[in-house]
Symmetry: C2
Subunit: 206 residues, 2 copies
């Protein structure tokens, strides 16, 4: 049994993701939590502050996870697989995270730009540098624009998961496996043998 503040965050995340911020009333959130609106406003003093709390929780995951993955990985190939697998896993596990981020990009582009810079900025720079080194080593295509590439791959995963249900996607696993293929084959000079992602291994073992 989780505490009420966390339960409010869970319910609000689902509501904001599926119906949007304007489309989700505080009364509706409170009702699903099992309390009344004024009680909810004791935990989060305004709807805007609830919105921030919901979004920050999504971003904080990456603050914990990104350094761990980057330390584990050694080769460029390892890093690519580790990072992309974790990004895919995170959003496929709960597609509402992807919908939430996508809506926030549309609703408050400037605010989200600042949050991304705070939470992900340093890592995007590190990744861009890795890619640049890959170019020098001859492993990565020369015409890659490192920073734009990283942003587009993130966008492709988030957007692909968020909109999978609006596009007659057969299965979410097949759908994202093509994203992984596109990302890999447009990055490396010579596409390696097809290598299973952790996700598809889990699927085959399960």
């Amino acid at each position: 049994m989780q505490n009420i503040s966390e339960k409010i965050l869970d319910v609000a995340t689902k509501g904001f993701a599926l119906a949007g911020y304007d489309g989700t009333s505080l009364s509706a959130i409170a009702k699903e939590v099992g309390i009344k609106k004024p009680s909810l406003l004791y935990h989060y003093p305004s709807k805007e502050q609830l919105r921030s709390a919901v979004l920050n929780r999504v971003f904080e995951h990456w603050n914990d996870e990104l350094p761990r993955i980057l330390k584990l990985a050694t080769s460029g190939e390892d890093r690519f697989n580790g990072l992309l697998n974790e990004i895919v896993r995170f959003f496929v596990t709960d597609p509402n995270r992807a919908r939430l981020v996508m809506r926030e990009m549309l609703d408050r582009p400037d605010h989200l730009s600042a949050s991304m810079e705070d939470y992900l900025g340093p890592y995007i720079t590190i990744l861009s540098d890795y890619i640049q080194k890959g170019v020098e080593r001859g492993e990565v295509r020369k015409d890659v624009q490192p920073r734009a590439y990283v942003l587009h791959v993130i966008q492709m995963v988030v957007g692909g998961v968020a909109t999978a249900s609006s596009i007659g996607a057969t299965s979410i696993e097949d759908h994202v496996s093509e994203i992984v293929r596109i990302a890999r084959s447009s990055l490396f000079v010579d596409t390696p043998q097809f290598q299973k992602t952790e996700l598809s291994e889990e699927k085959n073992n399960g």
Copy 2:
């Protein structure tokens, strides 16, 4: 000077794209058009019908344009360039079109899925068949999943343009040129010499 129904559509498109359907009131739309709310409701009898009219206008463009492009193009390479250039041009010309489609995917996934099937379904199938033929000719990578590939490229353009302002994108032209590179290099077996898109040619000439 356009007629009032069209002006309402223009203003509503901008509003729905930037602030969302729930975030744009009929009074606000009417005010910007220069009339009052009841007058607006004479042209579009409900907010939902205005929403449909706005969305249909975006889709109808493709009903006119897609057959034209497919007829013009002869080689697979031509078709790829022609189509991708037109998709990019359409959404970069007015990014609100991209934001609108993205929001609709999130707000009403089932409804948009049906609209996409109606307007684009046949063409997506045709494109998938072309890609399959390219595989047989040895021009296209064997591990491409044709239908998923097409959907992801569309999604990458729409999502990339819609969220360009939320991502510290330097210039929209550089941003989309990396999308074109990713799409091309992940499709063809042997990436051709870098070939300018019509968009970047216009930029260089202008």
